[in-house]
Symmetry: C2
Subunit: 343 residues, 2 copies
């Protein structure tokens, strides 16, 4: 098979790798293309499984990230993938690439941060691998989970007319990244909340379980790449389009307050910034009405409405100046040039 002419995005590359690896065998319920793989095991649950690698200089900068914060985040981003299937997390393995010239005792600070997230979310780190990494610190966490087979939520499933929701306000992690990268000093509450959102994301596992247990969502993903991309993933997997009125985007008030200091449009941060690690989901209109009460009973803040699933295959932002196709726009892990001014 000749190689494709270009593999310009992570998406193209993943698809090309997928073709190389061939179709998944029986017993594999979900393979490449969702937040987790899902595998049949004996009993009523599917085994969920995910892996995420964080690379120094790409995903984190130790100039403004402590090793404990990095440890926390390295588990949190995997927990968010389990949340995005409606699952409960199980054990984790850690593969740590440590620079030979970095004091190894700092690895224990990293481990303490990871262990703190593990305790908070009831996860055990039960093994892994340590290797030398001359090119910088590399952290790979792989995490399992479980979800009752009939409850599992995926990116596919959104139907035309479904309403779109997100489980928190958008843009805080991206605003926090700008503050950290540019060394800005904002009013203390803003500074702390936004940098905390970037450095210590709190995956929405309880919301994911609620959506799965009560059958509230038709499709589910976590917001890691910016919702213009995350929502596009749902659209592609579901064979639908999405329409978001700009006025409906739940931009975090903190992001709006911080925007003048950051010199950027809060809407850009909300749509394209990524790393909020909230849950983005679709729900049938009749079910959508029950969401505030269901979330309230579970002690969770009601999700924010964001727009609607429509026919087509694009994610469209409706502004007063017209409609803009924002499908897949945002931070791509391979397009490093975008990272410098992530927006």
């Amino acid at each position: 098979m000749p190689p494709p002419d270009n593999l310009t995005s992570e998406w193209d590359l993943i698809n090309a790798l997928n073709r190389e690896f061939g179709p998944a065998p029986a017993g594999v319920i979900l393979s490449i293309g969702d937040d987790c793989a899902a595998i049949e095991i004996p009993g009523p649950d599917y085994l969920l499984w995910t892996v995420d690698t964080l690379v120094e200089g790409v995903h984190f900068d130790l100039a403004y990230t402590t090793l404990a914060q990095l440890g926390w985040k390295s588990l949190a981003v995997n927990l968010s993938d389990i949340a995005a299937m409606g699952g409960d997390p199980g054990p984790a393995l850690l593969s740590l690439g440590w620079p030979p010239d970095r004091d190894r005792r700092e690895a224990l600070e990293f481990a303490a941060g990871l262990a703190q997230a593990a305790r908070e979310y009831g996860v055990a780190v039960i093994g892994g691998d340590t290797v030398a990494s001359p090119g910088g610190l590399i952290v790979t966490v792989t995490l399992t989970g479980r979800v009752p087979a009939h409850q599992m939520l995926r990116r596919a499933g959104a139907g035309v007319g479904d309403l779109i929701f997100v489980t928190g306000p958008l843009g805080e992690a991206a605003a926090g990244l700008k503050i950290l990268q540019q060394g800005l000093e904002l009013p203390q509450e803003l500074q702390e909340a936004l940098t905390e959102a970037q450095l210590r994301p709190r995956p929405h596992l309880r919301a994911g379980r609620l959506l799965a247990q009560e059958g509230l969502a038709t499709a589910l993903i976590d917001t890691s790449d910016g919702i213009a991309t995350d929502l596009y993933h749902i659209c592609r997997a579901s064979g639908v389009g999405a329409r978001i009125p700009a006025a409906a985007v739940p931009v975090s008030p903190r992001v709006t307050a911080a925007a003048p200091h950051l010199g950027c449009d809060p809407l850009d941060l909300a749509l394209f910034g990524g790393e909020d690690y909230l849950l983005l989901f679709t729900a049938k209109p009749a079910v959508a009405k029950r969401l505030p009460a269901s979330f309230s009973r579970a002690g969770l803040t009601a999700p924010h409405p964001l727009g609607r699933i429509v026919t087509g295959d694009r994610v469209v932002l409706a502004t007063s100046a017209g409609e803009v196709d924002i499908s897949g726009q945002g931070y791509d892990h391979f397009r490093l040039d975008l990272r410098g001014d992530a927006q």
Copy 2:
């Protein structure tokens, strides 16, 4: 808890991380300290789980490794961990850190090599992660497997008086590495066989299953770090020592033939070289007698005897000049300086 004064070896670091992560919860049968983690799932099997990261410039050099060979090896080293529990492999996830300046189409060559190993061993690659890695290519494969709970073999279990065996001749992968690193040209058959041993290891999954199914071994590990280290892992886990007569070490005849070209002692390559990805195991003397017949019935070459488990806590090499403690000597992933002339 104050950090330990030093963490000079990978072993020290792993133990320190282990303390930080705390004890494993119920349902986790094996955690840090064996070739795989093992987790209870419904049904008769344990779920096996391993992760291995290969870092450019540490574990491989693309000057003499094709991307297809790297793809093969990245799965093979994980398959060897499943073999070391007596298990059958299940699905795998790939996390690929790709340098931004390397043509992404080469990632498909990598994937083709990985897919070839996957087909050969009946494994499906069902997902993963792709990230940018400015510091060089990084490959993390995480692999599951299954083993009937009552059959699982581990590093612990060797008893005083047990005999020690290895499932193939030693030192070929290390000899191959020397040939590749030094750009040597040996007689063709030697050249090909030894470099193939380094670049395309063939994990001994069938031997692992045989040992587990027929209850032939008391302890089992794969030979990744050199048997002076691998055997020391068995000794530490089992609370015993080991005595290897130098004359009994099954040095590969190819290694002996190549040694004059390589300028090194074939016994050093066999004991300290690593990366042969054979199985090293212990067996009760009464059972040891049955090994050749059992292996022969399974179409496998009889394992090579290597020495005996003794009291104490050291791995001792018995030579004509006396006894030498070789416990844990060999290639340590963190001691890069050793890698240049691995022996």
